[in-house]
Subunit: 172 residues, 3 copies
């Protein structure tokens, strides 16, 4: 199993130069946009080939458990996930909207930056248009900077709630 090396969240986040902060900020909103704009096929591209993507409840995460709602540890698994999601297509149509606070830089060492970012996901059901807060929590990310680009080495979405009110089909 993937070894998670995230530091405990420090009280004061790290100071970084503009070019680092901008790349992090862009990765955050670009990745969310791929999901929200239904460009899911692009979503795995934000991850390194060998990576971790996990969605886990806060209670499980804090108890040291590493079994989440979703667990993928290669980019190919993410691609498979999107493919099966497209072909299955049995769920009630709905849209996601990620609203993110600014990222906190937990540490920045050379090309590896660790961040924590609060999120809320608003889900709109179709065709009735009902909106609900689908999930709230924080991303714990390890981001690898290479040249102008930035990709997730790991992304753990820690949800405040222990339950997901329907089959979790679209990534958070």
């Amino acid at each position: 199993m993937y070894e998670i090396t995230l530091p405990a969240s420090p009280t004061i986040s790290a100071e970084v130069a503009y070019d680092v902060r901008e790349r992090i900020a862009r990765l955050m909103v670009d990745c969310s946009a791929a999901i929200d704009n239904d460009a899911l096929e692009e979503w795995p591209e934000f991850f390194l080939e060998k990576c971790l993507y996990m969605v886990i409840s806060r209670a499980n995460y804090e108890a040291g458990r590493r079994a989440g709602f979703i667990y993928c540890d290669t980019r190919d698994m993410l691609i498979d996930r999107v493919r099966s999601l497209r072909s299955a297509n049995v769920y009630q149509p709905h849209l996601y909207r990620h609203i993110l606070s600014g990222p906190r830089i937990l540490s920045a060492q050379r090309e590896m930056v660790k961040t924590e970012t609060s999120f809320a996901v608003i889900r709109t059901s179709l065709p009735d248009g009902a909106m609900t807060v689908f999930s709230a929590g924080r991303y714990l990310d390890e981001i690898f900077l290479e040249g102008a680009s930035a990709r997730f080495h790991s992304r753990i979405a820690v949800t405040d709630s222990d339950t997901i009110d329907m089959l979790l089909v679209i990534p958070i």
Copy 2:
């Protein structure tokens, strides 16, 4: 009818210098604050004289329809809208609160910057204080930079939901 020339949303947003990003970020929060702080008379000032302001559902927008909940294509129409809103004043009192993700720069060419920004609007009804997610979606903006200032050439608020649960009286 105003010709909309927004590019398809690219997977990776553009890299821009700090001064550009800061002007964009300020325009976003300043415009929202004018609405949320009930300084609506200032809101049209964030638009060029010849401009577009449209609120449209995602389904209509993606189907290529350009008829929205609101359609204004001059600043004077925005001013009129605020004026009639102030004089009519027949709606149940409520407050808006815009929460925005960071803007994605879709393209930046000379003084024209195209951006995409996710939003959620929390509405608080008075006097009972009930809060609901009133709208969620994204702004598609064309922003004209002139000196230190930035103004909307066009702002299209694309709402995830097809319905607005009451008469839409205050701009999004």
Copy 3:
């Protein structure tokens, strides 16, 4: 009583250099993270020793009243508040999640920066996991910059709603 010297919110927020904006942005998310991550003991550290922390409804704030849901004017009062909160512990368990828009710089004079930041707080009840918008509004902050750090001289959380739907035990 503490004298509040916040300026009227200007239409156009101030332009500031990257290092100022970054310190403000970090303070905002670091302070929220201390609350959301249940590191409440660290939360008073974001305030100067002589400071103001107030939570007040928008109606009361705009009417010039200065009596809020919470009123503390020293850091020691904040420390006491956390201590009693830890020992009392009678409330139903729930988690907070702050989602913040970008800060608006209202003014920046030497080491004192005044800002306005919209927030929404999502509360997740445990163990059922129900999520609601607990509070929405804006922070009006006076921030003192000293070297690389930034601390609140005053923080006024102005809530859009007049009511808080339960005993307000955790700071906003």
